[in-house]
């Protein structure tokens, strides 16, 4: 391993490669801030440039920098304007945006940068140690276990079910899964619930939904409630960047737990950063002391640290099946796999033996990417957070504009914009009724994967027998039930007592 590391280090630390990683991180961060352009699209856009470079190690270093930068950029728009451009950063907006609203935008971005760095770096160490073993374990997971894992991911909704809102949270989750069934699915070619609208044939576009549910209603509420938005404008001082000792102590165990969890979830093909961030959020909420649990969804530092760490560790974990088995674990690694093939590299079990310099260069590029990202972003945070000090009469139109254009550039279709505006109005009414919106988006994101895996498992087993035939599935489902019911019962008891 030491020889391999030195070989990777030798390939990665050359002036040219260091420039590549800087360019990658910089471009990834800034393009990633645009809603609708997630790591997948940015890497796809960068592939022709990477191929032009020629040297596989340099090309991969550039793409890794873009990947990590794009994830951090996505978190920035989630935290500052409640506009998560990719599914993996949705959970970061749950507490990151309330922190920004409370005048702690700088601190929220610092927490995001440090947790991303920690998650990515610990993930890279785990990748180095466990990659060959984990590829075998990942093969033990079948559709039945994936289905159970998706159910486990849905337990994150418990975080939004407090204070008598459980039925509302469940209603929103079901509505989210219902919306995920619109259009064609991986199992069924005939489109469902499209009402004859051709644009719904391939389903509701994620960015359209997320902008309609989060960014647009937020902008509309800022217009509706002038007093609140003016108070917010006065609260946007970016003096508070530092994390106190107490806060560091508070998030350190979260970072340690979520780096491990995120990495192992990321190893499972198809689970990825989204699943890891929701799971991490739900688990940390359950583990938090009673007083801290109340703060989840309202600006909890743990609530931000958990998904930020988990999604970065999962991104690293998703490299395990790609490098060792040649299986892309996520959309982004599928694009990276394409890039590797275009660079005449065949990922798979023989990569470590046949082209060790490439394998180790990828691992070293992960360390470099994370370090450069931290060096690059920490000094930039005050300037990035200054975005919130833009006058209200320009900030609101630009938030609406970025939401609209994010939905448009993904599909190049003006109908998406009308769907998004409709969803935005619906979400505003739901907020008036006290319905929590995060469960809707969690249901939507996990709904499609849930149906595909349930369908595959049922077809294979001939029914629901797989639940009790496969101990791992049953175990995960029981855990999911316990994670959902226990905090709800606890909250219920508290409400009755009060």
């Amino acid at each position: 391993m030491i020889d391999g590391l030195l070989m990777g280090l030798g390939a990665a630390i050359s002036p040219f490669n260091l420039i590549m990683v800087f360019i990658g991180c910089f471009l990834g961060t800034f393009i990633g801030m645009l809603p609708g352009l997630g790591p997948m699209s940015i890497i796809a856009i960068m592939i022709p440039i990477a191929i032009q470079i020629g040297d596989p190690a340099s090309a991969l270093i550039l793409l890794s920098g873009v990947y990590y930068g794009a994830i951090f950029g996505g978190s920035t728009s989630s935290i500052l304007i409640n506009a998560p451009g990719v599914a993996g950063t949705v959970a970061s907006s749950f507490d990151g945006y309330p922190m920004a609203r409370a005048g702690q935008a700088g601190k929220a971005l610092t927490v995001a940068a440090i947790c991303s760095f920690a998650g990515g770096t610990i993930g890279a160490i785990l990748l180095m140690i466990f990659a060959p073993v984990l590829s075998t374990v990942a093969k033990l997971f079948w559709s039945a276990e994936y289905f159970a894992l998706m159910v486990l991911g849905l337990t994150a909704i418990a975080a939004f079910a407090g204070k008598g809102k459980i039925i509302k949270a469940l209603c929103m989750t079901v509505l989210g899964v219902m919306l995920a069934t619109v259009g064609e699915s991986a199992l069924h070619n005939a489109a469902r619930f499209t009402m004859g609208i051709m644009d719904l044939q391939s389903g509701i576009y994620f960015v359209t939904l997320v902008m309609g549910l989060f960014a647009l209603p937020e902008a509309l509420f800022l217009v509706l409630d002038e007093k609140r938005s003016k108070a917010m404008a006065n609260n946007n001082k970016i003096e508070n960047l530092r994390i106190s000792k107490e806060e560091a102590k508070e998030i350190a165990p979260v970072v340690a737990r979520q780096s491990l969890l995120g990495f192992f979830v990321g190893v499972l093909p198809g689970a990825g950063a989204t699943m890891a961030s929701f799971l991490g959020y739900g688990i940390e909420r359950n583990l938090a002391p009673a007083g801290e649990r109340e703060k989840f969804g309202k600006g909890s530092i743990r609530g931000l640290a958990a998904p930020e760490t988990a999604n970065n560790a999962a991104c690293t974990g998703s490299f395990v099946p790609m490098l060792t088995l040649g299986i892309p674990g996520s959309g982004t690694t599928a694009i990276l796999l394409g890039a590797l093939v275009a660079l005449s590299i065949t990922p798979g079990p023989r990569l470590m033996e046949d082209q060790p310099e490439v394998f180790w260069a990828v691992i070293i590029s992960m360390y470099l990417g994370n370090i450069v990202l931290l060096i690059l972003n920490l000094p930039l945070i005050p300037y990035i957070a200054k975005l919130l000090t833009v006058p209200r009469h320009y900030l609101i139109p630009f938030v609406i504009f970025f939401s609209l254009i994010g939905a448009y550039i993904g599909q190049n279709n003006a109908t998406e914009l009308l769907i998004m505006i409709g969803l935005g109005c619906m979400a505003t009414v739901l907020r008036f009724g006290g319905f929590p919106l995060p469960p809707l988006i969690i249901g939507f994101i996990l709904g499609g994967m849930l149906e595909d895996n349930l369908g595959r498992a049922m077809r294979k087993a001939g029914g629901l027998e797989f639940i009790w035939d496969r101990p791992m599935t049953l175990g995960i489902l029981v855990l999911a039930l316990a994670l959902l019911v226990y905090p709800i019962m606890k909250d219920r008891k508290k409400v009755i007592r009060e």
Partner: protein, 157 residues
């Protein structure tokens, strides 16, 4: 007193019933009808859950706090919000016919004026510069096609 969440619960109940009806009447191919997991298996389950939860919401008196944002809604700026939604719809409809730069500038100028900007020179220059930069970044740098100009002067919608 009737609360808005009860009306939303009625709407969700109606939506679940409609969704369930569409799932029930979804045409199945002969081979699909014999499968243990049909295209309408999960939708039917979801419709059942939707009906159950929305009915519970109607039947069980709510004890939760309404969203704080909803407090004092009578004093809200409804007119500006409606105008802004109208402008967003207008932007969606005009984006292709008049091109990205003109529609974005128009949207930024008009919406900033709805929200209190009085200086037209400032708003027009902000709209033009920002739309130009974003168009260049998206279309030229990233290679994602965005029609820049109106169709009558060379833009291809």
């Amino acid at each position: 007193m009737a609360r808005i969440d009860r009306f939303i619960a009625i709407a969700l109940l109606a939506f679940s019933v409609g969704y369930g009806y569409l799932a029930w009447t979804h045409p199945l191919l002969p081979f699909e009808a014999r499968m243990p997991f049909k295209p309408n298996t999960m939708p039917l389950g979801l419709a059942g859950l939707g009906i159950l939860f929305s009915s519970l919401l109607l039947l069980v008196p709510g004890n939760d706090e309404l969203e704080k944002d909803a407090e004092g809604w009578r004093g809200f700026a409804w007119k500006s919000t409606a105008l802004l939604i109208g402008l967003a719809i207008g932007y969606a409809l005009l984006l292709r016919p008049i091109g990205f730069i003109a529609s974005t500038t128009l949207f930024i100028v008009l919406s900033s004026h709805v929200l209190g900007e009085t200086n037209f020179v400032k708003s027009i220059s902000t709209g033009l510069i920002s739309s130009g930069i974003i168009w260049y970044l998206v279309d030229d740098v990233l290679g994602i096609y965005l029609v820049a100009l109106p169709a009558i002067i060379g833009g291809t919608p």
